[in-house]
């Protein structure tokens, strides 16, 4: 039997009862669309998160105060960031020395806080970051107008500020901001730069941040002498492990720590963070896909059900075909082709619906969060969708097809 004959015979078979075929296909469409949709959204969300983490700058090592092990159930990481005071600018100084940490490209201390910012009667509470002049290089955030503060300004505790693009818009609109003065906690600062628009990252609107020299932030805004974190950037990923151990050694000597279990600081890398988030989103995607797969299973049972009905209805046709020379194999192939066609049509429609769903979701995310993944056509999900529909067509079609192939032609011809 020619393939084209099998194909047209299958089409004829499905046209016998169009409504029934359509409903059966719908079952598969829903199943495949659910799987594709979940996978596409999962992948999109994952890439969005990873993109944001990578957007923080590449090859970063983050040192936060406080040990990493939990003591008496107290999670020390988050508590440490807020309360521990044992990382200082002297540590930064030590880490900056090439003899201590040879592969460190930039070492950048960070303090964070919030302050009331005012300008010509307008008032706003804004988060500020106190840092050093190398922040643009470390975080890949640059100024679009003016300049970032210099080393001298940082060392000299200058009252200069670089503002996020939304702050600029709010206070100055379209007008010029450079050289203007704004008040931060009632102290006057000169605006020397405006940052590029960055969007939302980690649920924080980067464009609403303001940046001041760390010395200024510590002494004039916060009144502290420690830092919240130290970020070390490394030229190349291959030196990250070496650099981590150099940092540990340096800090242990400075803090008189005999062994790693007493560390009063925690080192995380961007890679670890990416991996952790990658794993978490992957697990969620898999779990949701499994749930979606159940609807696919139900669709497959629908196929089997309809094919069984079809075999019974067409007993006489099967008898005739066998009488005029169709072998068991020919009948088997004919009915397998039919179920395959049902699932393939369902699969292709399902892929389309699933992609539309994930595209729609990405638009909704964009609307809500202000940032989104660009629509990704998940090629592996498409391949999976087609593959799965073929498997379902064959898997659930084989039993009805075998039943048809095994029919006794005499009985089948007599059947009314």
């Amino acid at each position: 039997m020619r393939l084209s004959d099998s194909f047209f015979t299958a089409i004829e078979g499905l046209k016998v009862n169009k409504g029934r075929s359509a409903l059966t296909i719908l079952g598969i469409v829903i199943g495949i669309a659910a799987v594709i949709g979940v996978m596409a959204v999962g992948q999109g969300a994952q890439s969005l998160v990873l993109q944001e983490i990578q957007g923080l700058g590449s090859n970063l090592i983050i040192i936060t105060p406080g040990g990493s092990e939990q003591k008496e159930g107290r999670p020390s990481i988050s508590m440490g960031v807020l309360s521990a005071k044992n990382l200082t600018l002297d540590d930064v100084e030590a880490l900056s020395r090439k003899m201590n940490v040879p592969y460190a490209q930039e070492v950048m201390p960070v303090v964070m806080g919030s302050a009331i910012v005012t300008h010509e009667g307008q008032e706003k509470t804004a988060n500020f970051i106190g840092s050093t002049s190398n922040l643009p290089q470390v975080h890949n955030r640059f100024t679009q107008e003016g300049r970032f503060f210099s080393d001298e300004e940082e060392k000299g505790m200058a009252r200069v500020v670089v503002i996020g693009s939304k702050i600029k818009e709010q206070f100055f609109g379209e007008g010029n901001a450079i050289g203007e003065r704004i008040k931060i906690n009632r102290r006057s600062f000169e605006v020397i730069g405006v940052m590029e628009e960055q969007g939302v990252r980690e649920m924080q609107d980067i464009d609403e941040l303001i940046y001041v020299p760390i010395s200024t932030a510590q002494k004039q805004l916060l009144g502290i002498n420690y830092v919240n974190s130290i970020i070390v950037s490394v030229d190349s990923e291959e030196f990250i492990d070496q650099t981590i151990s150099d940092i540990e050694t340096t800090l242990r000597i400075r803090h008189n720590i005999p062994n790693s279990s007493n560390d009063d600081f925690t080192i995380t890398t961007q890679k670890e963070l990416s991996e952790t988030i990658g794993i978490v989103t992957a697990i969620f995607t898999i779990l949701l896909s499994c749930i979606a797969a159940i609807s696919l299973l139900v669709g497959g049972i629908g196929i089997m059900n309809i094919m069984l009905v079809s075999v019974t209805e067409r007993t006489k046709e099967i008898g005739l075909r066998k009488a005029v020379g169709a072998r068991k194999k020919d009948i088997l192939i004919q009915f397998l082709f039919e179920s395959l066609l049902l699932t393939l049509i369902g699969g292709i429609l399902g892929i389309i619906v699933g992609c539309l769903f994930s595209w729609g979701t990405s638009l909704v995310f964009k609307e809500i969060l202000g940032s989104s993944w660009g629509f990704i056509l998940p090629l592996n999900a498409v391949a999976l969708g087609v593959g799965v529909s073929v498997i379902i067509g064959l898997g659930f079609g084989i039993y009805p097809a075998q039943k048809a192939a095994k029919l006794n032609p005499i009985e089948a011809l007599r059947y009314e």
Binding site: R2, E12, A323, G325, P409
Partner: protein
């Protein structure tokens, strides 16, 4: 070199028995039937319903296997052939005409006649030619793209005959081909079968009507699974000459 006996019988049946077992109840459908059919014959198998003539027909056309006895078609014993080989012989060497036509309702005359060919692995152009030739032989060329429900019963049966002869078979088995037809249509069908026989096709006709059977050259009578008579038709009827097939 292959050595073939020219006098090979088309059909050889020796002491054919067929029993149906149903929960230890044994029904004997055929009880030792023996006969031969030569190439070119037109044989009617006659008997009342329940006589076993349908069972005999099913064995003869390789749709069923006997419980015991020997059945050979063109020298090949049914016992030596697998189901797929039987299917192949049915496809290449036999044609079938059924009482209820058994056309596929949603396909055209052309596609219905082509049905045996899709299982025989020929080139498309040859297939097309064979189908058109067969449809022409039954005089339905003008109906080739019609659907069965657009045709009369007689025309439908002629389509079935075209389907039976499309593969150029050596034997055409016709199971009560006039059973569902009015006498005029029945007459046309019988005329067709006689014409095919004249062209060299062997015809095996199963019927319970004496009148229909007299169109054959030879009548085998079956009763209660036994062969009761096997004789030549002396006053053969020619459907061509009749206006009506009177029952």
């Amino acid at each position: 070199m292959k050595f073939r006996i020219l006098e090979t019988m088309m059909i050889e049946a020796y002491n054919l028995k067929k029993e149906y077992r149903n929960d230890s109840v044994v029904t004997v459908a055929l009880d030792g039937v023996t006969f031969n059919i030569e190439a070119g014959e037109f044989v009617a198998i006659m008997g009342p319903s329940g006589s076993g003539k349908s069972t005999l027909m099913h064995i003869m056309c390789f749709l069923d296997r006997p419980t015991s006895g020997i059945y050979k078609f063109e020298g090949r014993s049914i016992d030596d052939l697998t189901d797929d080989e039987l299917a192949r012989i049915r496809n290449k060497r036999m044609g079938f005409v059924f009482q209820s036509y058994n056309l596929l309702p949603r396909t055209t005359v052309f596609e219905n006649v082509r049905l045996p060919l899709i299982y025989s692995g020929l080139k498309k152009e040859i297939e097309d030619k064979m189908v058109r030739e067969a449809v022409k032989q039954v005089g339905l060329s003008h109906r080739i793209n019609f659907y069965p429900n657009q045709l009369s019963g007689g025309e439908q049966q002629r389509v079935a005959i075209a389907r039976a002869l499309v593969n150029n078979p050596s034997v055409i088995f016709a199971d009560e081909p006039t059973g569902n037809l009015d006498s005029r249509s029945g007459n046309i069908v019988m005329a067709l079968l006689q014409e095919l026989n004249d062209k060299g096709h062997t015809i095996v006709l199963v019927t319970h009507e004496k009148y229909t059977s007299e169109h054959a050259k030879r009548i085998i009578r079956i009763l209660d699974g036994k062969l009761v008579s096997d004789e030549k038709v002396i006053n053969r009827l020619y459907a061509k000459n009749n206006k009506e097939l009177i029952k």
